[in-house]
Amino acid sequence: MSFTIADTLLSSRFFLGTAGYPSPKVLHDAIAASGAQVVTVGLKRQLAPGQNPLSKSTTEGVSNAFFQMLKQNGAHLLPNTAGCKTAREAITLSHMAREIFDTNWIKLEVIGDDYTLQPDPIELINAATQLVKDGFEVFPYCTDDLVTCNRLLDAGCRILMPWGAPIGSGQGLVNPFALRTLRARLPNVPLVVDAGIGSPVDAVKAMELGFDAVLLNSAVAQSHDPVKMAEAFKLAIQSGRMAFEAGIMSRQDMATPTTPVTGRPFLL
């Protein structure tokens, strides 16, 4: 089950986001239940002094100390560039993230449309090109467009993270054909389905397509019991991967008898 991504051997194919949990304890327990070894984190512009505490977090009480604790427990932090719309913004934010979280991994998000949060391919490629030169391991959040993905590889990305569906939409894999095409055309590139996963079934499907890992957040954080859902996804991702490795039977329209009987029991 283990695999290598960015020269790092991982035994879990589940990357988990840390946003929107009811409390730091639930977040902590959900990460533990998920078995995830890669967790995404963010950076936020601080609010004006006097208006709010500087360390205000979307999950109250989660600070850098919390993330460093996760790191000490073996988790790999994957900071994102959420909110960026230009390569310039994303590059600056990536450098800030590298300093704060002490990692050269960056989940590169450069958004081109507010409604769908669809990545802007041009700005994304421009940012990736510069960041690779600056020594980053770029995990680009991209669409499932094959040519964009190829350009990202040309820019020096070693991993691709195409969307399954728009961020936070929970729609699952809206274009399995495109994902299947990516897998077929890029057999040696680590591919992670990032965004849009709603149910563990979606994660199973992504893994059955031969994707290397799944990154999700809302599906766990917004469930009624995030700790239980984290475990459900862990099992689904393991199950989907095992099914892919075992080889799924091909579909056919006709029935084929399963039990090796000799015709009808009493008709000679």
């Binding site: 986001g17 840390t18 946003a19 929107g20 949990y21 977040l27 995404t40 984190v41 963010g42 950076l43 936020k44 512009r45 601080q46 609010l47 004006a48 002094p49 006097g50 505490p53 500087l54 360390s55 977090s57 979307t58 999950t59 989660v62 600070s63 850098n64 993330f67 900071p79 994102n80 959420a82 310039r88 913004e89 590059i91 600056t92 934010l93 450098h95 800030m96 993230a97 300093e99 704060i100 979280f101 961020i167 936070g168 957040n217 809302s218």
Partner: protein, 75 residues
């Protein structure tokens, strides 16, 4: 003492001429009643990253737009 006008996270602010970025970060943390900890934030000036080690050498100029970022949860 001569002062200059800058902005910090979008809000205008007046600082003494010659103030370094490192001193500003310390001031901000004091105002927010946080312990002085240069590693708690990352900084950019005019959308360009200024590393922790470069803050002391960076003297703020009039109209500089300073941004400070801190870690949060993220997807």
């Amino acid at each position: 003492m001569t002062t200059i006008s800058i902005s910090v996270n979008g809000l205008e602010r007046t600082v003494n001429q010659g103030t370094t970025l490192a001193a500003l970060v310390e001031q901000l943390q004091t105002e927010a009643r946080q312990e002085s900890d240069p590693t708690a934030v990352a900084t950019a000036v005019n959308e360009i990253f200024v590393s922790r080690s470069a803050r002391e050498a960076y003297t703020l100029q009039a109209n500089d737009a300073v941004f400070t970022f801190s870690p949060i949860t993220g997807g």
